[in-house]
Subunit: 235 residues, 2 copies
Amino acid sequence: MTSVIVLYTCVDSPPGRTVQMALEYLKVPYTVKDVNFDVGEHFSEEFLKMYPQGEIPVLDDNGLIIGESVAIIQYLAEKYGKDETFYPKDDLRIRSVIHHRLAFYLSTYYRRVHDYMILPMDYAGYERTDEKLAKTNHALKVFNEFLHRDGTSYVAGATLTIADLPFVMGTVALKAMDFDFNLFPHVTHWFEMFQRNHSDLWTVAAEGLKGLTYYNKNPRDLTSLKHWYHITKKN
Amino acid sequence: MTSVIVLYTCVDSPPGRTVQMALEYLKVPYTVKDVNFDVGEHFSEEFLKMYPQGEIPVLDDNGLIIGESVAIIQYLAEKYGKDETFYPKDDLRIRSVIHHRLAFYLSTYYRRVHDYMILPMDYAGYERTDEKLAKTNHALKVFNEFLHRDGTSYVAGATLTIADLPFVMGTVALKAMDFDFNLFPHVTHWFEMFQRNHSDLWTVAAEGLKGLTYYNKNPRDLTSLKHWYHITKKN
């Protein structure tokens, strides 16, 4: 069977791996198109014609083009979900928790991870400052508190939902730089439980961890990448 | 009739006004509890017990507590929506566009507005730099391109959806500081159309514009606000 779902992504992209975990969970066949990030293929005329945001991941489901990992996993779960737990359709209370966690992930959790971990890894002019560390620790403190208060195993309740996937990859990005999680025991507990109970999904996440760990220690040569506003590193 | 829906918010909060517009559109009766931002009421023990993120807006619907404006408007539309256009239940294509725009708003649009406009207005140690301006202009360029490509009047298609509301308030925040929109004609066209066609919602947004314009020119005294990581301005 030829898959008609195509995922444009990079091996070490946390949002890309978030989508790949959703595809794996839903057992949806798909093809990966590796975007050559280092030379800015996501800024090429062809790519921008498809997706003017110029970012990955992008999903192409028979011509329906969707960007933003959080939007993609919502779409995939709605279209291909077969159970009532991964993204419940009717339970408005659980849906409100899932939607809150996804919004908190975008507004705060990954924003801090991106500022503190990702940008200084890839581009010149960004440093891992104490201020950015404090903000990242604060996001972790809030996430830790949500996990604690709810007293549930997963991000949005008693079972795995779409909301766990981005938090796994945001947390993986911090693991790739040996971040100190000592103050956030509930985050550690949840993360280790995920690794144990979802080894198929963890295999996908672990590939991202490997890539991020490598690039964090061995910065890419992005001198051919003409970024819109980031200064590409001179190696 | 005593309303059992309570919205914790501040008069000039763009995300708070986003939720108020949704409540107005859905004709849901509600009570506002003004959070005294200037003295950090959102960091009080009582508030944090309710909502550990320590941010506004927060919705209390009969004891169901929801934060993050994007999650709140999804919940309100799912629970109280009476038409099939504001947040369609079954059309996965339109839903994917709505969810993409909401994610883009959080990951990019409001992130840039927050960094460039909001933080320098409220706290010391933040400046309106050329770098932040360039990133804000880029977010506007992408938003402008989405409005242009789709050839539709609204953010996610031919009719008003929940996705319009946060973009209205993110754009209002820039209007409050006389931002130059000349390069983004489709944004201007959409914004003016919204003002014309939804005067009831615009009334709600305009109160936010008034507050933001005032505070942008007359910085608040936040010296009693013990913020977790921002430096509060000394006036």
